[in-house]
């Protein structure tokens, strides 16, 4: 065991996989010599060699296309898109190609690529360094979408993603790279070292895709969250005094429906939290799943606490970000409903 922040845990996952599997390659913009703008690949090129971890031209469409071709050859590419906000030039390659190779070729070809990308706000990144585009990928048949919320999960889920034979969009909540964030931007930052999930095995282990985790057990209300918002939701639950159960979904597709249904059937109330814009956000899918599967157990309408339907606003970051106050209000409304 070692104490790791999320960056170190992600680095360790790639380090372990580069050492275990010669078919694993890591590449992206500034990823090689420099080690990535967030340092996630620091030291990997020096340790594993120039052809195992390398820099790419600034061309996200080309990065993903090359990874697909490598996958067709039999490699397991792990690519970094520097910010999730930069992923759109690669959208056609992900949606029309990576997601569909296996289906359209009847199993002849597949794209076992893992696409890592930092997402989400809370860092004053403005419109182009703060977005949460997960719903664009959960809507695509053939892609898996994974979002960790702790160093332990980040490493275990990333290893699972790399070993998975389907394309995985691995969204990294960059606000919590260095420490969990409870949503109170005006309070001092807490490092991961003080959190139990920073105890990370140095070797190989996996956290399975498609399995949620109960982060805080409770009986009266279920909060569904992922990424940074898991920690904000836990803080909100503490502050509300409500006996809320917080579920970290960890994988959005395929979703762990049993964990959701089990919890909501117990509590009868559900609040869904995400940073992404509201309309057609993943919360809409979650709300639909909850009412389809748990309607007769519901005591109150399902609430969504999300980013607003605007581009991510630089100066209004904390008016936009769905912080603990908004979550507590939604929880209270749900308890009264």
């Amino acid at each position: 065991m070692a104490t790791m922040n999320m960056i170190q845990a992600l680095n360790s996952a790639m380090d372990v996989m580069l050492a275990r599997d010669p078919n694993v390659l890591v590449f992206g913009e500034d990823v090689g010599y420099f080690g990535g703008v967030f340092r996630a690949t620091e030291g990997l090129q020096k340790k594993h060699g120039l052809t195992r971890c390398f820099d790419t031209p600034i061309g996200e469409g080309g990065i993903v296309a090359a990874a697909i071709g490598m996958g067709a050859y039999g490699l397991r590419p792990v690519v970094e898109i520097q910010f999730a906000d930069y992923i759109y030039p690669a959208f056609d390659q992900l949606v029309s190609e990576a997601a569909r190779l296996r289906y359209r070729s009847a199993g002849d070809y597949w794209a076992p690529l893992t696409l890592r990308t930092p997402y989400g706000g809370g860092i004053f990144g403005g419109q182009t360094h703060s977005q949460s585009p997960e719903a664009l990928f959960t809507h695509v048949a053939g892609l898996k979408t994974v979002i960790p919320s702790t160093p332990y999960d980040a490493k275990g889920l990333l290893i699972s993603a790399i070993e998975d034979d389907d394309p995985v969009i691995f969204l990294e909540p960059k606000r919590i790279y260095n420490g969990p964030f409870d949503g109170h931007h005006d309070r001092p930052i807490s490092p991961w070292a003080k959190h139990k999930a920073s105890d990370v095995p140095e070797g190989h282990y996996t956290v399975p895709l498609g399995k949620a985790a109960v982060i805080r057990a409770g009986n009266d209300l279920t909060v569904l969250a992922y990424g940074t918002m898991v920690h904000v939701a836990v803080a909100a639950a503490e502050e509300s005094g409500i006996d809320a159960e917080v579920i970290d979904l960890r994988t959005l597709v395929p979703i762990d429906i049993d964990a959701i249904v089990g919890s909501v059937e117990k509590t009868g109330r559900c609040v869904i939290v995400h940073e992404a814009t509201r309309t057609s956000g993943f919360g809409a899918e979650l709300a639909a799943l909850v009412q389809e599967n748990c309607f007769y157990h519901l005591e109150a309408p399902i609430e969504r606490v999300t980013g607003w339907d605007t581009p991510y606003p630089h100066a209004f970051e904390w008016d936009y970000f769905p912080g603990p106050r908004r979550i507590v209000e939604a929880m209270r409304r749900t308890m009264e409903g």
Partner: protein
Amino acid sequence: MKNRISLSLRIPEPKYRPGDPPDFSGMAIPEAGSARRPESHVSANEIPDLAYTLIRVLDGDGNAVGPWNPKLDADTLRRGLRTMMLTRVYDERMYRAQRQGKTSFYMKCTGEEATSIAPAIALQPDDMCFPSYRQQGILIARNYPLIEMMCQVYSNLRDPLKGRQLPIMYSSREHGFFTISGNLGTQYCQAVGWAMASAYKGDDRIAAAWIGEGATAEGDFHHALTFASVYRAPVILNVVNNQWAISSFQGLAGGDEATFAARAIGYGLPGLRVDGNDFLAAYAATRWATERARANLGATLIEFYTYRVEGHSTSDDPSRYRPADEGKAWPLGDPIERLKTHLITLGEWSEEKHNALHKELVEHVRATGREAESFGTLGGDQKPSVKEMFEDVYKEMPWHLRRQRQQVGV
């Protein structure tokens, strides 16, 4: 005050529209044999002229001339001829089948056969091909069973792609043929990635990709050339310039400003502009590029200059946007006729043999077609199980697809 002139917007237009008499007499066609052939290890910077000339081997009399003559033996020439003839006969049969309502869609490659078949024969059988949608000739050259192709087009019980793909979007890993996308250009940088993987593994196989001149306007084209150049990937990047992208003439992709082969120059890649209706030139250019790639010298861009004789697809009516007789006026002739004449000139072929082979191929395709149709045609009862709709979305079916499959009742 400054004397300013008003700007004007240029929208390029082709020379001839329906009703105009097509006239290619002004087209610069270098003599067969006139293009120089440098050693394949030449620096790309030393051969910009090859991106602007036209590499041609077969002259007007059917002789193979000049330094690019690959000096193929008669058996290889006859193999090329037979493969092109079989591809054309196959196309004619499947086109008719679509008109008879047996399938939804078909695309012929008439007049362009050499641009896929000559490279396919010049490559090793285990080199990897990333085709666009008009390279059925590769599969036929690699002896992929014709019946599999037909069953794919019919989406029938024996369809190797299980009813999931639009007709002609073939896939065969066994034959080194990548699954055809239908989204244009996407395969181009994938081929570069495959080639990078081959180089990374110390393999000796190379990749080849095909794109139409129209789709070179896609960003994927730029990605492919950039990545191929940066990583010196062992890949051959073919541009099939057949003059027409559905109704858009090649000038709309920028072909009037510079040749498509010349796109290579800015990336430091060799660009060869080749008579695409000349089997020998297409073969020789590919061999040059394979030598270069196998020597770890990286990618070559080859423009095959040709003409799309038929419509874009069965959904297209080219008489609405170009002169109906433009194909007949095309000055570079027909690839089958030209190779046939060459073989006859060599004393290795005759009209009688040609007619007999044509008859044999028609009969072969007819018999194979009957067998394929015995497994059903589109819209009939014989088709893959609806279960197949839910398979292969993921390696293992997740719960939500299992539940949806149950809702369909299969």
